[in-house]
C-alpha cells in the first residue's frame, strides 16, 4: 500500500508534525510505504498532517484512489490514524 504524505506549511503548529508522522510510520505495518506526496503519482491513500485544526494543506492536486486521512491533533489523532490505516488494509 502506498500512502502519500502531505504536510501543511507549519506556520504555528500546535504539535511536532514530523514526530507525529514518525510515530505513525513506526507503528504501521511493514508493507505500507509512505512517500512525500507528488503530483502525477497515484496513491492508495493520502495522509494530510496539519499543525492545527485548520489543517490548511492543499491536497486536491494529488491522485488518490481510496481516500484521505487527516491528522491535526498530536495527542489523539496518531493512534486513531494507525487504526484507520490498518482497518483499511483489511
Amino acid at each position: 500500500m502506498l500512502i502519500g504524505v502531505k504536510y501543511c506549511g507549519g506556520c504555528n503548529p500546535r504539535f511536532d508534525r514530523g514526530k507525529a508522522f514518525q510515530a505513525i510510520k513506526e507503528q504501521a505495518h511493514d508493507d505500507i510505504e509512505f512517500k512525500v506526496a507528488e503530483e502525477g503519482v497515484e496513491y492508495d491513500y493520502l495522509l494530510v498532517i496539519g499543525g492545527c485544526s485548520n489543517c490548511c494543506a492543499s491536497y486536491c492536486q494529488y491522485n488518490v484512489k481510496n481516500g484521505t486521512l487527516f491528522v491535526w491533533d498530536g495527542e489523539t489523532h496518531v493512534d486513531k490514524t494507525i487504526d484507520n490505516i490498518h482497518k483499511m488494509m483489511k
Binding site: V5, K6, Y7, C8, G9, G10, C11, N12, R17, G18, V36, C56, A57, S58
Partner: protein, 492 residues
C-alpha cells in the same frame, strides 16, 4: 531552472559584483562579513524551507505564468487562499529567524506592479504589463531575490519632489534615450538590498504632472555600473566583530539588513522600464504596494513575537518566577497582542479581491488597521518581555567574563567562578542558558534585532500617520452616520 537551495543562493551572491560600503570603506567579501552574513542566512532559509516537505505548502506555489512550482516570494497571488498562505509563510519565517527575512518587499512589489501596469496600459496604451510578466517569469524561473524599493530620501517634507533644492532627493529620470532611460537618486532604508540579485524600483508617493520625471519604475541588476550601497548600522552591531562572539550576540545566526542604495546615473534598458512619467499611476502603485506590505507585518512580526513570548517564558523559568500569577498574566497579554496582529493579517487577506489583471489584492482598510496595530503592539510586547526578564538583561557581564579563569579577590576564585556563583538562579538551570535567553531578549528589545522588531514595526511599510490617512479614506464614516440615523429615528 529548479528552486535553489540556501547554499546555492549564497554562492550566487558571490558571483555578483555588488558594490557595498561600510564604515567608510568598500567591503569586497560582503557575503562573509560578520555584520552582514546573519541577514544573508535569513534569506538562505527562504530557499531551504522551500525544499522541506514540512514547509513546502507555504513556501512554494504554482506560477500562473508558467505552471511551474515557484518560491512563494516570487508568486503572484491567485486567490484569497494565496494571500492567507503568504501571511502564514511570513509567520513561519519570523518564528525560524526572529528577524526580518527581507524577501517580502520583492513579493509585494511584484504583485503591486502586476496589477498597476495592467491598468496603466489600459489607459495609456503602453506595453508595460507584458514586459513586467516577462520580468516576473525570469525572476521565478531563476529563483532570485528582488529588493522592492520605494522609499526616497525625500529631503524637505514640506515641498514636492520637483521643488526640492536638490532634485536628486527623489529618484528621477535624468535622460530619455531611444534604448532606455538614465536615472539618478537613491532609495533609503532598503531591506535586504545588498542580499538581492535585483532591484525593482517604484516611486515613493503620488505624483503630479510637475513631478512626472519622478514617476518611474524599473528593474535592474544589483551590480550594474553606478549602483552602490552604503550599509545601515544597527544598535550593538560591532558585537558581531568581536572574536568568537556567540552568547553576547543573542541571535548569532540571523539578523536583518537595511542600506542606502544610490543610483549615480544608472542606465535602464527599455525592456526593464515599467513606468516612465505616467504620474497618474504612481499613487495607485504606492497604495497597492503599501497595502500588501502592511498585510505582511501581520505575519512576520507575529512570528518574531512568538519567539519573544517563548524567550520571556524561558527567562521566567530560569529565574524561578514562572509560577507567579503576574508573570502568567503578562505572558497571556503578550499572546493576546501578538495573536491580534495575526488576526488582522489573516482578515485583510481573507477579505481580498481580484484586480483587473487577475492577481489578488488585500482589503486596504483591514491591512492599514493591521499595520497601525503593528506600530504599537510590538512595543508593548517588548516592554512586557523586559519586565519579565529583569534588569540583568542589560547589566550582565560579558561572555568572556563568565568564561574567564583569571583569579580575582581573596578566595582564589576566577572571574568566571564569581559570575557563575552570583548569577545562578533556578535549580538545574545553567548560568550560560540563563545568559543566552537574556541576551536574546536584549538583542531583540534594544540590540541589533530591535531595528527589525521595534523601529521597523513603527516605520516600515509607512509610518503610523500614513495608515491613519488610509483608514480615514477607507473608513466609510458616511455609511456609519446613516446607520446611527436609522436607529436613532433621525429623518433629514
Amino acid at each position: 531552472m529548479t528552486l535553489m537551495t540556501g547554499a546555492q543562493y549564497i554562492e550566487s551572491l558571490r558571483k555578483l559584483n555588488t558594490k557595498v560600503y561600510l564604515f567608510g570603506e568598500e567591503v569586497k567579501n560582503w557575503v562573509d562579513h560578520p555584520m552582514i552574513r546573519p541577514s544573508i542566512n535569513c534569506l538562505a532559509l527562504t530557499y531551504d524551507l522551500a525544499q522541506d516537505p514540512q514547509y513546502v505548502d507555504l513556501m512554494t506555489a504554482k506560477s500562473n505564468l508558467t505552471g511551474n512550482t515557484v518560491n512563494r516570494f516570487s508568486h503572484l497571488h491567485q486567490s484569497t487562499a494565496d494571500l492567507v498562505k503568504k501571511v502564514k509563510m511570513q509567520r513561519l519565517l519570523g518564528q525560524k529567524t526572529a528577524s526580518c527575512f527581507q524577501r517580502c518587499v520583492g513579493m509585494d512589489a511584484f504583485n503591486a506592479m502586476f496589477s498597476t501596469t495592467y491598468e496603466m496600459d489600459k489607459k495609456h496604451g503602453t506595453q508595460y504589463h507584458d514586459r513586467f510578466k516577462k520580468y516576473v517569469t525570469y525572476i521565478q524561473d531563476n529563483d532570485l531575490v528582488v529588493d522592492g524599493a520605494m522609499t526616497d530620501p525625500k529631503g524637505d517634507r514640506g515641498v514636492s519632489p520637483s521643488q526640492q533644492r536638490d532634485p536628486d532627493l527623489f529618484l528621477r529620470i535624468v535622460e530619455k534615450r531611444a534604448d532606455g532611460i538614465v536615472v539618478r537618486g537613491a532609495k533609503c532604508h532598503q531591506t535586504g538590498s545588498i542580499n538581492s540579485h535585483e532591484h525593482l524600483i517604484m516611486p515613493t508617493q503620488a505624483m503630479t504632472e510637475a513631478d512626472k520625471s519622478y514617476a518611474v519604475s524599473f528593474a535592474i541588476q544589483s551590480d550594474v555600473p553606478g549602483l552602490f550601497m552604503v550599509y545601515g548600522r544597527q544598535s550593538c552591531d560591532t558585537r558581531k566583530l568581536e572574536k568568537d562572539a556567540d552568547v553576547d550576540l543573542g541571535n548569532k545566526q540571523f539578523g536583518g539588513q537595511e542600506a542606502l542604495v544610490v543610483f549615480d546615473d544608472v542606465f535602464i534598458p527599455n525592456d526593464r522600464v515599467f513606468m516612465c512619467e505616467e504620474y497618474d499611476f504612481s499613487g495607485m502603485l504606492v497604495e497597492r504596494f503599501a497595502g500588501y506590505h502592511r498585510q505582511s507585518y501581520g505575519g512576520c512580526k507575529v512570528g518574531v513575537g512568538d519567539v519573544i513570548i517563548g524567550a520571556a517564558a524561558l527567562a521566567a523559568d530560569y529565574n524561578g518566577a514562572q509560577k507567579a500569577s503576574h508573570i502568567k498574566d503578562k505572558l497571556i497579554e503578550m499572546t493576546h497582542l501578538n495573536e491580534t496582529l495575526y488576526c488582522c493579517g489573516i482578515a485583510c487577506s481573507a477579505e481580498g479581491y481580484a484586480t483587473e489583471a487577475g492577481n489578488y489584492q488585500i482589503d486596504l482598510l483591514l491591512a492599514n488597521v493591521c499595520k497601525q496595530n503593528v506600530t504599537r503592539f510590538p512595543y508593548e510586547i517588548v516592554r512586557l518581555a523586559e519586565d519579565i526578564a529583569g534588569g540583568l538583561m542589560v547589566t550582565m557581564p560579558s561572555e568572556q567574563d563568565f568564561k574567564s579563569d583569571l583569579k580575582v579577590g581573596q578566595s582564589g576564585k576566577s572571574i568566571g567562578e564569581w559570575c557563575n556563583k552570583f548569577f545562578a538562579a533556578a535549580p538545574g538551570v545553567t548560568t550560560e542558558n540563563r545568559m543566552r535567553v537574556l541576551r536574546f531578549l536584549e538583542n531583540i528589545c534594544l540590540g541589533s534585532s530591535a531595528v527589525g522588531y521595534r523601529t521597523e514595526s513603527m516605520h516600515g511599510a509607512g509610518s503610523p500617520q500614513a495608515q491613519r490617512i488610509m483608514i480615514a479614506r477607507q473608513g466609510n464614516i458616511a455609511q456609519k452616520k446613516e446607520l446611527a440615523k436609522v436607529l436613532a429615528g433621525i429623518k433629514e
